[in-house]
Amino acid sequence: MKLEDLAGKLIVVEGADGSGRSTQIARLVDWLETGGHPTVQVGLKRSTLVSKELEQAQKGNILSRTTLSLFYATDFADQLENIILPALKAGFIVLADRYIYTLMARDMVRGVDDAWLKNLYGISVVPDAVFYLSVQPQELVQRNLSKNATLDYWESGMDLGFSRDMFDSFVKYQTAMQGAFKKLQKIYGFTIIDGNRPVGSITKDLRKKIRLVLAEKGTID
């Protein structure tokens, strides 16, 4: 898929739960829409086709590795073809609250073959910008606990059996995820944003970078 033919922009924000992803996206939407840009948001597990089934299957923890991986790919492809591409054609700015990189990183940590993943996600469009909010695992634990008072089973990678202790497992899993993101960053060249800083300065940073992306295609002066 050639992005040049598409009038819109695809901007991806990646990062673990507690990295400030959703906060930043909400702020960016505000800023963009106030500036007169139409936006659309997509994210994982939000497709009409399989989001409900995927949620259910995940709760029961009954799917095997390849199955779960393909289920997520289906969810992604449904949003790609029914939301992302039409919106880009119509000149919208699409903000993706996580994209194929999180899906790939999760699978890589679980030992799925890199080449298999590369082929699977060969259907995706290359974003105009990818920002990875990098936050220390120790800090992520604190943020998740202060928000929910509990750690999520999957975000702790409990299925991997790193440790029976959830706190331990969370830190080990998030460390492994950061390793996978580093590997992906080398291939796909996305921007790493230091997410340990205050919310406001991260937003400022993101705006500056997005302004450049928009200017490239003359979306803004």
Binding site: T67, L70, T74, A77, W116
Partner: protein, 249 residues
């Protein structure tokens, strides 16, 4: 890609492929009955039957939400679920697994729908090849007639209506099936299909199938363990009254 035998699995997998109406399901059912009667550990698995994925697939089909890409991926998800949770453990346990349709159904259909062949094959590359694949080859008209005889109401995706081949579902079905048949024929050599003349009568075909299966698979290795010997019949312990009486004295 290697077969299960080449990968040293204790079990064996036999797949049947062919157009709707080629009689493949009847043949694999009869094969199953025979193997069961022979005391073989056998398991039968159908395309598109994973419990978890089913509701998403049927929603997608009913509401015509599927694109070629999502059609392909959702069937791959269904297959992966059956493969990882049923087929693999059973093959590890030395079962003869019978599959009504295998990856070749996806290779044919998805490619006809316009997905790149390498992409589809790449996705299914986690699956090993069957030890025997029977391709039930009919003349296109024969299988079309078998399906269309009763003028059934063809479903949207079944008829390939998403491909906009024709506004008439029957005409669309004909063209769609014709293209799938071409794909099967192309794959025959590459994947060493056993090509069956499915225009012959059912009994004749079944005897060929059974003969070939027993030649290629050493069936006696796949027998269920003979039933455990029955425990000896219950006998009330003999109470030696006299002795007890004596002891009491």
């Amino acid at each position: 890609m290697k077969t299960f035998a080449e990968l040293n699995f204790p079990g064996r997998l036999i797949a049947v492929e062919g157009l709707d109406g080629s009689g493949k399901s009847t043949q694999i059912y009869l094969l199953k009955r025979w193997l069961e009667a022979e005391g073989i550990k056998v398991y039968f698995s159908e395309w598109n039957s994973s419990e978890i994925v089913k509701s998403a697939t049927s929603k997608g089909k009913k509401r015509e939400l599927l694109t070629p890409t999502t059609f392909s991926l959702i069937h791959a998800t269904d297959f992966a679920d059956r493969y990882e949770r049923h087929l693999l453990p059973l093959l590890r346990a030395g079962y003869v697994v019978l599959c009504d349709r295998y990856v070749f159904t996806a290779f044919g259909r998805d490619v006809v729908r316009g997905c790149p062949p390498e992409w589809v094959r790449g996705i299914y590359s986690f699956a090993a090849l069957p030890d025997i694949t029977f391709f039930f080859k009919t003349d296109l008209d024969v299988s079309l007639n078998r399906i269309l005889e009763g003028r059934p109401k063809l479903k949207f995706f079944e008829a390939g209506m998403d491909l906009r081949l024709s506004a008439d579902p029957y005409e669309s079905f004909r063209i769609f099936q014709g293209r799938i048949l071409e794909q099967y024929v192309t794959m025959s050599g590459e994947f060493k299909f056993v090509v069956m003349d499915a225009n012959q009568n059912v009994e004749k075909q079944q005897s060929i199938v059974r003969k070939l299966v027993s030649e290629k698979i050493d069936l006696k290795k796949f027998r269920r363990r003979s039933p455990l010997p029955l425990p000896p019949a219950f006998q009330p312990p003999e109470v030696k009254e006299h002795e007890e009486d004596l002891a009491a004295v």
